[in-house]
C-alpha cells in the first residue's frame, strides 16, 4: 500500500493538567494501565501498517515517547520518532516533517485516539474516490455516566456536546461542509453553489471529526506551502479543502496535478471500477461543460468515512474523556484493552494482593503488585501497578495510576490520582484530580478540585 502513516502524538496538553507533566506526556497517559498511544499503534498494526512516523512536540517528550516505543514495539513496528517544536499546531507539525513524506497518500492519525475502527477502512475509502482528503468521523461520545455526577459531565449535559457541524451528500461519502470551533456558535451558513451541485446535503450536528485523515500527499504539501498561516489540520486545512472542492485551486498550480491528470486519463477505466462509478459523482458532473463536453472546471473530492455506531471511537482530549475512556476500555469496549477478563468481568493481576472482605466489582482493573487492605471496595475503577491501599478504602469510578499510596478509610469518587501521589488517612475526594507526587494530608475533603504541586 502506497500509504505513509503519521501519528501526531503531541506534547503535554494544557487541557489535561494536572494529569500530564514533563514526565508523563499526553501520549503516555495510561488507559487501563497502557499508554494511550499504544491503542493507536496496535490498531495500525492490525491493519498491517508497520512503518510509521510518530511526531512529538518537544525534545524531552520525544525522548520519553521514543524510549517507550522502542522498548514496547521493538521487532514489531518500524517507528520513526520525529521531533517538532512545541505549539506549531498539527499543520505545522506536518510542515516540519514534510521531507519525510514521499508516498502518494498520507494517513494522519491523532495519537490520542482510542478506537477500534480499522485505519484500513479509511484508506480504502480514500482510494476508492481518489479523494484529496478523507476524514474519519464518528458519533459524538456520550460522556459521563449519569450516576457518576462528575463536574465535567454536568457541564456537558447542560450543553449537549457539539464538536462539528458536518454536511455530507446523501450517499454519505463526500464531505461538503464542516464547521468547527467558534463557527459552531454562529448560524450555519451553507454555500448554495455546492448545494446546487449536489442537490441534497445532510447536515449532522451529532457527528464529530475523529482526527484521522487520509491526505493526498502532494495536495497536502502544496496547501501547507501556500497557506503558511494554517496551523491546524482540523480547523484550517480540512475546512479549506472542503470549501474549495468545486473550485479547486490546488489542482491548477501544482505540477504533480498535471501528472495526476494524465494518470487519470490512463487509468480512467480502473478509476471507474474503483469508484463504482456507473453514475459519476456530482463533482464530475459539475466539472462538465454546459453540453456535457470536456471538463471545464477543476474539482477535487473530499470524502468521509463514518465509523459505525457499534465501533468505539473517542479522543482523549480532556480530563472527562480520560475518565470516560478508562471506564469504557475496561467496561463496554473491553475488547480494546487486550486483556482477558475474569469471570467477574474484571482484571486482577495475579501478583495483586487483596485483604479480607475486600471486594473488586466488575469493570475494574487492579494492576501488577498492588496491595489492598481489608474491607475495601472497588467499583468501576482502574488501579495501577504497585499501589498500596489501606483498609476501609472505597474507590468508585476513578483512575488510580501507579505507585500510589492510599491511607486507611479514604473514599475516592470520580477522581484521578496520578502516579506517586499519596493520600493519607480518611481523605475524601470527589471529582478531583490529584497531580503527580502530590500529598493529600489526613482527613481532608475535596470536591471538584485539581490538586497538584506548584512547581511549574
Amino acid at each position: 500500500m502506497d500509504f505513509q502513516v503519521v501519528v501526531l502524538a503531541g506534547g503535554t496538553s494544557k487541557k489535561l493538567v494536572p494529569l500530564v507533566s514533563k514526565e508523563v506526556p499526553k501520549a503516555l497517559l495510561p488507559v487501563a494501565n497502557r499508554p494511550v498511544l499504544s491503542y493507536v499503534l496496535e490498531q495500525l498494526e492490525l491493519s498491517n501498517i508497520k512503518d510509521l512516523i510518530v511526531v512529538v512536540e518537544g525534545a524531552d517528550t520525544a525522548l520519553r515517547v521514543g524510549g517507550w516505543i522502542s522498548a514496547a514495539y521493538v521487532d514489531r513496528l518500524h517507528v520513526e520518532v520525529a521531533t517538532v517544536p512545541e505549539d506549531v499546531g498539527t499543520a505545522g507539525a506536518l510542515r516540519a516533517i514534510a521531507h519525510h513524506l514521499t508516498a502518494k497518500d498520507v494517513l494522519v492519525v491523532s495519537g490520542d485516539l482510542v478506537s477500534d475502527v480499522p485505519p484500513g477502512a479509511v484508506t480504502a475509502a480514500h482510494r476508492r474516490h481518489d479523494a484529496v482528503v478523507t476524514a474519519m468521523i464518528c458519533s459524538v461520545p456520550v460522556s459521563g455516566l449519569s450516576e457518576a455526577g462528575s463536574s465535567g459531565a454536568k457541564d456537558k449535559t447542560k450543553k449537549p456536546g457539539r464538536y462539528n457541524i458536518i454536511g455530507m451528500d446523501p450517499t454519505k461519502q463526500f464531505l461538503l461542509h464542516i464547521a468547527t470551533g467558534a463557527e459552531l456558535e454562529k448560524d450555519t451558513r451553507i454555500r448554495k453553489s455546492i448545494l446546487r451541485a449536489v442537490g441534497q446535503m445532510d447536515i449532522r450536528a451529532d457527528l464529530m471529526d475523529a482526527h484521522m485523515y487520509a491526505f493526498n500527499r502532494s495536495v497536502l504539501q502544496e496547501v501547507l506551502d501556500q497557506k503558511d498561516k494554517f496551523q491546524s489540520l482540523k480547523q484550517d486545512v480540512l475546512p479549506y479543502l472542503v470549501r474549495s472542492q468545486l473550485k479547486s485551486e490546488i489542482l491548477i498550480n501544482g505540477a504533480p496535478q498535471g501528472q495526476q491528470a494524465k494518470e487519470n486519463g490512463n487509468d480512467k477505466v480502473s478509476y471507474r471500477i474503483l469508484a463504482n462509478a456507473s453514475t459519476p459523482s456530482f463533482h464530475e458532473l459539475y466539472a462538465l461543460g454546459p453540453n456535457g463536453s470536456a471538463p471545464v472546471r477543476r474539482t477535487h473530492k473530499c470524502c468521509v468515512y463514518i465509523a459505525s455506531n457499534s465501533k468505539y471511537c473517542v479522543r482523549l482530549n480532556s480530563i472527562q474523556a480520560f475518565m470516560d475512556i478508562n471506564r469504557d476500555v475496561i467496561g463496554e469496549a473491553n475488547h480494546l484493552s487486550g486483556y482477558n477478563f475474569s469471570a467477574q468481568n474484571n482484571i486482577i493481576h495475579p501478583s495483586a494482593e487483596l485483604g479480607s472482605k475486600t471486594t473488586v466489582g466488575p469493570h475494574c482493573m487492579l494492576g501488577e503488585g498492588s496491595q489492598m487492605g481489608d474491607k475495601c471496595s472497588v467499583k468501576r475503577s482502574v488501579i495501577g501497578r504497585h499501589c498500596r491501599i489501606g483498609s476501609n478504602v472505597k474507590v468508585v469510578n476513578s483512575v488510580v495510576m501507579n505507585h500510589v499510596t492510599i491511607g486507611d478509610g479514604c473514599s475516592i469518587q470520580g477522581s484521578v490520582i496520578c502516579s506517586n501521589a499519596q493520600l493519607q488517612e480518611r481523605v475524601a475526594l470527589k471529582d478531583c484530580q490529584v497531580g503527580q507526587g502530590y500529598v493529600v494530608s489526613a482527613g481532608c475533603e475535596y470536591k471538584g478540585e485539581s490538586l497538584a504541586r506548584k512547581e511549574k
Binding site: P160, D187, M201, I203, K227, K229, F230, S244, E249, Y286
Partner: protein, 675 residues
C-alpha cells in the same frame, strides 16, 4: 344570473349535506381550489380569460385539478373565484362537475380579493370547512394518491396538535446554470428533518447575490440531523388542518401561501406550529405557474406521465382522441393533406384542417383550426379556431383562440399571441413578444405590486380591464387596428406589449421557448465568475488564520449583516459619545445610552469598549492640534475625562488588554493620522 344559479346550486348542496348528518361526523374530505393564482404571469392572456380555463392539451386546466380531486377521494370542493369569476362559474355550471354523484363543487365568489391569504380569510368567515382539507390552485395537474399523505397527516395531527400542514414535494433538481427548475420556477432551498419530515427552512425567490444559506444555530441545536435540499420541487398541494384558516385570520398580513404563511410559521417559535412534507416518487404533480411550465406540463401530458389524465382517456369534457404511433394524438374529423407531415408528440384537435407540405411537430393544435400549406409549426400551442395562412413559421409559441396569421408571417420563439390577434402578411414578430388586442395596462397599481412582489393582481386593474374587455370585443378591434396598423404589419390587429419590469433579460426564463444555447453558455460563465468570487473571498479570509472566527469585519459578503450591524453600532456609539462631549452629558447617562445600544445591536461589552475607545481617538484627532505632543496631550485629556465610561465596559485588566488588541487597527489609523 350566474350568481343566482350558484346560490341555487349551493342551496341544493347544503340540503344534501343536511340530509345525512352522518357525513359531517365522518368529516368528508374537503378541498379549497383557488381558481385564481393572484399573479400576472399569464398576461396578456389572463386579461380576457381566467387562467384556470386556459386549455392545456385542449382541456381547460381546472378540469385536470377537479378530476384529480374527485379521484383522490375529495367529497366537496370549494372553488374560489376572483378574477373573471363569472366566466369560471359559467363554465362550471355548463360542465358536468355540478352533476357528479359523491362529488360536490361549490363556488365562492369575491371581487375585492387580491391574494390567496385574503381568499382563505374569506372562506374562514363563511365557516364551511369542518375538517382537514386539501388546498390547491386550479392550475395543478396531478395523479398522486392522497391516501398515504392524508393518513400521515392525520396521524401526526393526532400525536401533535401543532402539525397543521403537510406539503407535497417531488424530486426535481433545478439546473445549476439557470437556477430554475424544469418548470421554470425559481430554485427552492428547503431544510427537512430526515426522520420526521418536518420542514425547517424554506427559501424560494432566492436572492442570487447571496451565496450562502443561513441556518439558525437553534435549528441545529434542536435537530442533530437536517437534510438540506435543492433537488425538490414544491407541488403546491397542501393538506391542511382547519387551524390553517384561522391562522390566516389571526395574521391578517399573510398574503402569499409560501412567502408569508409558510415562512411565518417556520419563523414563529411561540405558537410552535409545524409543517411537514410528503414526498411523492412515482406519481405526478406539477403546477402551471408560467409559460415554461405550461410547455413542460403539456409535454408531460402528451408523454403520458399524468395518466389517466391524458388526451385519449375521457376524464372530463374532452373529446375522444386516438393515440397513434410516436405519441401522436388525433381527434376525429381532421382534414389533413397527404403531403402534410405531422411529427411525434403532437395533438391535433377535432375539425382541424392542415394544408399541403405543412410540417407540425411537438405541438398541440386545438379544435377547428385552419392551417394553410407550407406552414412550419414546432413546439407550439395553437388553441381553438386559429387560422394560419400559407407559409407561416411558428416556433415555440402560444397562439390563443381566434388568432389569424396572414401569409408568410413568422413568430419567433417565445411569442404569445392573445385572443383574436391578427398578424399581418410577412410580419416577423420578435422573440418573446406578447401581443394582445388590449393595451398594456399602465402600472397604476404599482404600490400593490411592490407590496406583494409580483403576486398581486390588483382589483382596480381587474374592474377596469373587465370593462374594457367587454367593450373591446366589439369596438376596440376596429379602432385599434387602424391606430396600430404598422405595429403588426399590413392588416395586423393588436398591440405588442412592451416588456416592463425585469426587462427582456428575464423573459427567456419563463417563456415557452427552450432556453437558447448562447444564453446557457453565458450563464455558465457567469456562474464560474460567481464561484471564483466566493472562493476568493473565502481564501482571502482563511489565510488570516484565526481571524475568521473572531472578527466580523473581515468576513466578506458572508457576514454582511453582522458586519453592517457592527458598523452601524459603532457609528451610533460615536454619535452618542460626541453628543455627550458637546452637551456635557453625565457619564452615567452616556453609559446608559451605550448600554441600550449594546442591547439593541446584540453586542458584547468588549464591542462597546472598542467603539467608545474608537470614538475617543477620533475625537482626539479631530480636536485641533498643531503638534504630535499636543495631540498626545489631547488624547490623554479625553481619556482621563471619560475614564469612567471606558471602565464600565472593561471589568478586568485582561479585557482591557484585549480591547486594546482588538483596537490595534484603530490605533494604526490613529498613528497614521498623527503622522
Amino acid at each position: 344570473m350566474g350568481a343566482q344559479k350558484k346560490r341555487a346550486a349551493a342551496a341544493t348542496a347544503a340540503a344534501r349535506v343536511s340530509e345525512d348528518p352522518d357525513d359531517l361526523a365522518r368529516q368528508p374530505l374537503q378541498a379549497i381550489l383557488l381558481a385564481d393564482s393572484f399573479t400576472t404571469k399569464f398576461r396578456p392572456i389572463t386579461l380576457e380569460r381566467p387562467k384556470v380555463l386556459l386549455p392545456l392539451v385542449n382541456v381547460p386546466m381546472i378540469n385536470y385539478t377537479l378530476a384529480w380531486l374527485e379521484a383522490a377521494g375529495v367529497a366537496e370542493v370549494f372553488v374560489f373565484c376572483c378574477a373573471h369569476s363569472k366566466q369560471v362559474i359559467d363554465y362550471l355550471e355548463n360542465s358536468e362537475w355540478f352533476s357528479q354523484p359523491n362529488f360536490t363543487v361549490k363556488t365562492i365568489e369575491s371581487h375585492n380579493i387580491i391574494s390567496a391569504g385574503d381568499a382563505l380569510r374569506l372562506i374562514y368567515e363563511q365557516n364551511v370547512i369542518h375538517g382537514d382539507f386539501v388546498l390547491i390552485s386550479g392550475d395543478t395537474v396531478s395523479n398522486m394518491l392522497l391516501t398515504q399523505a392524508l393518513q400521515e397527516h392525520k396521524e401526526r395531527k393526532k400525536k401533535d396538535n401543532n402539525a397543521v400542514m403537510t406539503m407535497i414535494i417531488k424530486k426535481s433538481k433545478p439546473s445549476p446554470i439557470t437556477h430554475q427548475s424544469r418548470l421554470g420556477t425559481d430554485e427552492l432551498f428547503m431544510a427537512i428533518d430526515p426522520n420526521t419530515k418536518q420542514l425547517l427552512y424554506y427559501e424560494d425567490k432566492a436572492d442570487h447575490s447571496k451565496g450562502t444559506i443561513c441556518l439558525d444555530k437553534m435549528l441545529l441545536a434542536e435537530n442533530p440531523s437536517i437534510s438540506l435540499h435543492n433537488d425538490k420541487q414544491d407541488c403546491y398541494i397542501d393538506i391542511c388542518s382547519p387551524e390553517v384558516l384561522s391562522l390566516f385570520t389571526d395574521n391578517f398580513d399573510y398574503q402569499h401561501l409560501r412567502r408569508h404563511f409558510v415562512k411565518g410559521l417556520l419563523l414563529d417559535d411561540i405558537m410552535g406550529y409545524k409543517i411537514f412534507t410528503h414526498e411523492i416518487h412515482s406519481s405526478y404533480a406539477a403546477r402551471i405557474d408560467n409559460y415554461r411550465s405550461y410547455d413542460i406540463v403539456s409535454k408531460d401530458i402528451i408523454q403520458r406521465w399524468t395518466y389517466p389524465y391524458v388526451p385519449d382517456v375521457k376524464f372530463c369534457g374532452n373529446r375522444a382522441t386516438k393515440l397513434e404511433r410516436r405519441g401522436m394524438y388525433r381527434a376525429s374529423e381532421i382534414e389533413q393533406s397527404r403531403s402534410a407531415q405531422v411529427g411525434s408528440f403532437t395533438v391535433i384537435g377535432c375539425g382541424t384542417k392542415i394544408g399541403s407540405n405543412s410540417k407540425i411537430s411537438d405541438s398541440v393544435i386545438g379544435e377547428g383550426c385552419t392551417i394553410g400549406s407550407n406552414v412550419l409549426i414546432e413546439g407550439s400551442y395553437l388553441w381553438d379556431n386559429v387560422i394560419i395562412e400559407d407559409g407561416c413559421e411558428l416556433r415555440h409559441v402560444i397562439v390563443c383562440d381566434g388568432v389569424i396569421m396572414k401569409a408568410g408571417a413568422v413568430l419567433k420563439p417565445g411569442v404569445v399571441l392573445s385572443f383574436k390577434v391578427v398578424i399581418g402578411e410577412r410580419f416577423v414578430v420578435p422573440a418573446y413578444s406578447k401581443v394582445s388586442l388590449l393595451q398594456q395596462p399602465t402600472v397604476h397599481d404599482s404600490d400593490e405590486e411592490l407590496e406583494y412582489a409580483d403576486n398581486s393582481s390588483g382589483t382596480v386593474e381587474f374592474s377596469s380591464i373587465q370593462g374594457t374587455a367587454d367593450q373591446s370585443n366589439g369596438e376596440m378591434t376596429s379602432e385599434s387596428s387602424e391606430a396600430h396598423k404598422p405595429k403588426l404589419g399590413t392588416g395586423g390587429v393588436g398591440y405588442i406589449w412592451s416588456i416592463c419590469e425585469g426587462g427582456q433579460e428575464e423573459e427567456w426564463r419563463h417563456s415557452v421557448a427552450p432556453i437558447p444555447e448562447d444564453k446557457l453558455a453565458e450563464l455558465s460563465e457567469a456562474m464560474d465568475d460567481d464561484q471564483e468570487l466566493v472562493t476568493q473571498d473565502r481564501t482571502a479570509l482563511s489565510t488570516s488564520g484565526e481571524l475568521i472566527s473572531d472578527s466580523n469585519a473581515s468576513e466578506g459578503d458572508d457576514n454582511e449583516d453582522s458586519k453592517d450591524d457592527s458598523v452601524y453600532f459603532e457609528k451610533e456609539v460615536e454619535a452618542t459619545f460626541l453628543r455627550a462631549v458637546e452637551e456635557n452629558v453625565k457619564v452615567d447617562h452616556v453609559i446608559l445610552e451605550v448600554n441600550s445600544l449594546r442591547l439593541s445591536y446584540n453586542m458584547t461589552s468588549a464591542d462597546c469598549a472598542g467603539a467608545v475607545f474608537y470614538s475617543m481617538m477620533k475625537l482626539a484627532v479631530k480636536t485641533p492640534h498643531s503638534s504630535a505632543s499636543e495631540l498626545q496631550q489631547n488624547t490623554a485629556n479625553i481619556i482621563t475625562t471619560w475614564q469612567k465610561l471606558l471602565k464600565s465596559y472593561l471589568l478586568e485588566i485582561d479585557e482591557e488588554v484585549c480591547t486594546i488588541d482588538l483596537d490595534s487597527n484603530y490605533i494604526c489609523i490613529f498613528s497614521l493620522l498623527v503622522n
